[in-house]
């Protein structure tokens, strides 16, 4: 292939090579560059082997070595131009770059951070003093509780204000290395989520009328992503019957500290009921006491504990031929004060799958904090899935009923003008 003959030419000519479309296109990441701040790996590791034997992924520039790295599984980091520039860079840490205006700005931010740290200290002491007050000194239980809450909120805000102006925090967050246990990264993640993905979720839920049909209100506060097998399902996407035979995996990201116990319910409000000429509800999955926190976000519905969490196991959704598409809404509902629910009582009580989610929400005081949606319709894999799960309406097809016209009314010429 022309490419390898060029590689055999003298090395100098090789340096002037043009891009090969395949490699550069592969890692076209927008702004996900490796920061120069990372001090270079210790020199010892590359000295004993010549460069082209163990090429450094953040410095390699010749396409041949890049392809070798790709075959070994590690992709070259950033664009080729950046790697070429980094080869002979002095790698000064970002905050020590001697640009005068930049350093003046850092001084202002440095002073502001010191001030914020002092404020955190004073606020912590006031919080301690407030909590050590007895109830009647603090002017009643409610007054004390509200003042403590306000102080804690302010303390959290001060922590965020301390780190919000830090370019390294911004770079880490944009590179995806934000550690969600820290309030600043949770805040940045929340803001990024609310800028776009949350609007799309709310639009899908309201336009497909999941909100008035399944639950009256839902203000999504946690970011939910759903995976069937390897593929991430967008809100409102059609899912093949074969893919949805196994329970989905959820990635629920909270933007506050601490841990929460949530109930996860997957409900289908579009089960066609031909006799009553209407639609029924069916709960495809119900699990309680599922612990989620800012750092541990992965929840695999198939791996939840049968004896203490899963009330109704996963029922693969199937749509009969000819029926309108089924909207399967996933709701993450927070349990009151995150107190665990009595699993045995629920397991005994909630046996039927036709109970609507509104009744469940009312009886167990659940508050919807997260939502997701996918749709199923008749496709060529539905028949086998119906046979596997023993769905009784397998060989039945739905056709539109004939609309009887209004009774004939004779035209009455006398009534014309």
């Amino acid at each position: 292939m022309a490419h390898c003959e060029r590689a055999s030419k003298p090395l100098l000519q090789c340096l002037r090579n043009t891009y090969s479309r395949g490699i550069a296109g592969a890692q076209l990441q927008t702004r996900a560059f490796q920061s120069t701040a990372s001090v270079r790996e210790p020199e010892a590791e590359t000295t004993n082997q010549p460069f082209h034997k163990a090429p450094d992924p953040s410095l390699v520039t010749s396409p041949r070595l890049e392809r070798r790295l790709l075959r070994q599984g590690t992709a070259p980091i950033g664009s080729r131009r950046r790697r070429a520039a980094l080869q002979d860079s002095a790698n000064i840490p970002f905050e020590q770059l001697p640009y005068q205006c930049f350093q003046e700005a850092r001084k202002v931010l440095l002073a502001d951070r010191e001030e914020k740290l002092k404020e955190i200290e004073t606020m912590r002491q006031r919080l301690a003093r407030q909590e050590s007050l007895s109830v009647e000194e603090a002017g009643g239980e409610k007054a004390k509780k509200s003042r403590v809450t306000a102080m804690q909120l302010h303390l959290e805000r001060l922590k965020i204000l301390a780190d919000i102006n830090d370019p390294l925090v911004k770079r880490n967050f944009e590179d995806g290395e934000g550690d969600m246990s820290k309030p600043i990264y949770r805040f940045l993640a929340d803001r990024k989520w609310r800028e776009y993905r949350r609007k799309i979720l709310v639009q899908r839920i309201t336009q497909m009328k999941v909100i008035p049909d399944v639950l009256p209100h839902c203000d999504p506060v946690v970011d939910t992503r759903m995976y069937f097998g390897k593929r991430q399902v967008q809100a409102g996407e059609f899912v093949e019957a074969r893919a949805s035979t196994s329970a989905p995996k959820l990635d629920i990201q909270i933007f506050e500290g601490g841990e929460k116990l949530v109930t996860i319910a997957i409900v289908d409000p579009d089960i066609p009921n031909v006799e009553a000429n209407s639609f029924d509800y069916k709960t495809h999955f119900l699990a309680v006491n599922v612990p989620i926190s800012a750092t541990s976000t992965k929840v695999d519905l198939s791996k939840l504990l049968e004896d203490s969490q899963v009330v109704l196991p996963w029922l693969p959704p199937v749509a009969q031929k000819g029926s309108p598409y089924h909207r399967l809404s996933v709701f993450i509902m927070e349990q009151k004060n995150s107190r665990p629910l009595n699993f045995e009582a629920i397991k005994a009580k909630e046996t039927s799958r036709d109970v609507t989610l509104r009744t469940l929400q009312a009886s167990y005081h659940l508050k919807a904090i997260g939502a997701h949606l996918f749709r199923t319709q008749w496709d060529d894999t539905t028949l086998e899935v119906m046979k596997e799960i023993g769905f009784n309406g397998a060989n039945v097809e739905l056709r539109r009923a004939r609309v009887e016209p209004l009774p004939y009314k004779r035209r009455n010429p006398s009534s014309f003008r």
Binding site: S79, K145, E156, R157, K159, D163, I184, G257
Partner: protein
Amino acid sequence: MAAREPSRFLSRALPRASVPSIRPQGFLSRRNVSDEAPSRRLSDHLSELESASSLSTPVPDSAAQSFDPVARAKARKTQLPRGRYQFRSPKYDRGPLHPHQPPPASDPSSRLFVPGPFSAPRAEQTYDATVAADIMSLCYVHTPPGFTPPPKAPRLREWDDSSPYHKNRVLRGPRGGDVLRLLRKPIKFNNIPEIERITIHSYVNKAATENSSWLHVAGIAVQAISNVRVETFKSKTSVANWGIVPGRDSVAVKAELYGENMYHFLGKLVDVVLPRIKDWEGVKGTSGDSSGNITFGMEPENVALFPEIEVNYDMYPPKMIPGCHITLHTSARTDKDARLLLSAMGIPFYGKIVN
């Protein structure tokens, strides 16, 4: 470590544009709230901050003597491979749900990015340093503590129920005419009148009757003196002897000045142009729309006195430089306060003073 469950909504102090301020709903106490000491040690709180923060250590001066990007660029024998990724911010706003959103105006890659302020205008410094404090002390009216002003009658009068139809009827107009004037709050330290914006508007009648060159010259002249791209307006009404028909041709240019531009323009106006206008009394005392905006007109030859136009006066075709109306919008609520402010900034007034 189940960190204390603290924050629910954090948006007050942060820039409002980035985070919508959400009312704090119910407080969610944590499962183990009771047993853990709520007021943890300072180190717990500080551990929640970013440990490797770049703002924690001042810069050692010795670090960057070797930093010389220009020499390094010259030393490179071969050119760097071409950068392939060119982000361009979208030209049109396709709504909030479009995946490709324009970056904020403060982002340098945004089309609306204006490089930062390069100068501190004299007018602004004068106002902040002396004029504001002087106006406050001049208009100071002492009210003893605990003094509440006497309740005024409601501005919209009630019907006198002389007829049964008066029930639920819309309230009558205020006393003396049906124009409700702005309420004037006493001038205190947080209510000192200041200049909000300046509008330069120029009506070019020959643009309708003759060709568009009149409008272009007016546009570039106003753009030169105001440092702001002008906006053109078409005629709305039809006036026979001016030869204009609604919507046919654009006959007026307008420039709105805010912030730095505004203060620079005011400084030029007060120091350079107005003193050099031949036998100019000042702004008429009756000018003002009783809501704190003062307007005055400039003849074409006075507009030519602006330094930007004077410096290349011969580049403008003769007799084509436009006259214009300059409106100074202030945050004052009455003409009296507006005139007080503008006279303090250097704009003379003459003739009968009408409030």
